[in-house]
């Protein structure tokens, strides 16, 4: 008999406590990204492009070569990196304020051009880092500091469904939406990250995965209540699944 470790901590995940709030899904998303990078034997050839938001310190937690992009500009920075170094594996890690608000133009054009980069999009329906303002993904009725009465459809419109939008663009090879609220969805998220990475590795096009994640602090809930909110409120509006897959699997 020997002992094996179940779901061992990936080596590229640094051995240090994170600054994330208790139960925040950023830590879990980092871990899944790290696992996939290792399974695809990518860490040595990866360049990570960080974004602005709570995950701004991603370079402290993933032991990878990393560039920090200005707010929303990660897909543009990744474009430059990949075109200059096509031998590298390049991915961005972005929140919904970063990707769907200030960075909406960058993500749309990057996907539409079919840049050979991959994007990990953490959608927690709020601006986490700055204290819980409304994001383009905030659900109708959801209360935030900038819509204290709840987001109003007539005033602010309906939340952007980024995975569907990106999936509709010609340059996209893979676009999917997953969630981190339970074990089954966590495992599906890992598979989707892998496919979004393979879209780049196999030179098929742009790879995108939207991960429905929690921000218990700004949702003013416990982490367990936050998981319930993902299941009861987020998934019904943001359906899970693949919206484009040209990888043949």
């Amino acid at each position: 008999m020997t002992e094996k470790i179940m779901f061992p901590k990936p080596q590229v995940l640094a051995n240090r406590p994170t600054h994330y709030c208790p139960g925040c899904h950023h830590g879990l998303a980092h871990k899944l990204v790290a696992q996939v990078l290792e399974e695809l034997k990518l860490p040595e050839k990866t360049i990570c492009v960080g974004s602005i938001g709570c995950s701004v310190f991603i370079y402290n937690y993933l032991l990878l070569d990393t560039i920090e992009a200005p707010h929303g500009r990660a897909p543009a920075v990744a474009t430059g990196v990949k075109r200059a170094r096509p031998d590298k594996f390049v991915f961005t890690y972005q929140g919904d304020g970063d990707l769907a608000a200030i960075g909406l133009a960058e993500i749309m054009h990057c996907a539409n051009r079919g840049e050979r980069v991959s994007v990990v999009f953490v959608n927690n329906t709020i601006y986490g880092m700055t204290g819980g303002q409304m994001a383009p993904t905030t659900l109708v009725g959801q209360k935030t500091t900038t819509c204290p009465g709840g987001r109003c459809k007539d005033r602010e419109g309906e939340p952007f469904k980024m995975a569907e939008i990106i999936g509709s663009l010609g340059g996209t090879a893979y676009a999917a939406r997953t969630a981190l609220n339970d074990i089954k969805n966590i495992q599906k998220t890992k598979k989707a990250i892998k496919l979004a990475f393979r879209a780049q590795l196999e030179d098929k096009g742009f790879g995108f995965v939207e991960i429905l994640s929690s921000c218990p602090t700004n949702w003013k809930m416990t982490p367990l209540q936050a998981n319930e909110r993902i299941a009861k409120e987020m998934i019904p509006y943001f359906p899970l699944g693949e919206f484009k897959n040209t990888l043949g699997e």
Binding site: T2, I5, M6, C21, L28, I183, I186
Partner: protein
């Protein structure tokens, strides 16, 4: 025999692991770590109920749980 090790100083007491535990044996303890979080534990008498599914380790956003599972020598490496 399985073994679960909690890296208490990394735990933030979020309780996500308590929910996914196949045997519901992870509970909040009365101890605080240096960060000021109330850590979780498995009571010694409950440890034998653990089936080493590893779900607690998978879900932990802070990588604060290591689950060891006893396997036959020949089994392939963990992937």
């Amino acid at each position: 025999m399985s073994k679960v090790v909690f890296l208490e100083e990394l735990c933030k007491g979020c309780l996500l692991c308590t929910q996914v535990c196949s045997k519901k044996i992870i509970t909040q303890s009365s101890r605080f770590n240096k960060q000021g979080y109330k850590v979780v534990e498995i009571k010694p008498e409950d440890l034998e109920k653990c089936i080493a599914c590893g779900f607690c380790s998978l879900v932990c956003p802070d990588s604060a749980i290591v689950v060891y599972k006893s396997v036959e020598e020949k089994e392939p490496e963990n992937v």
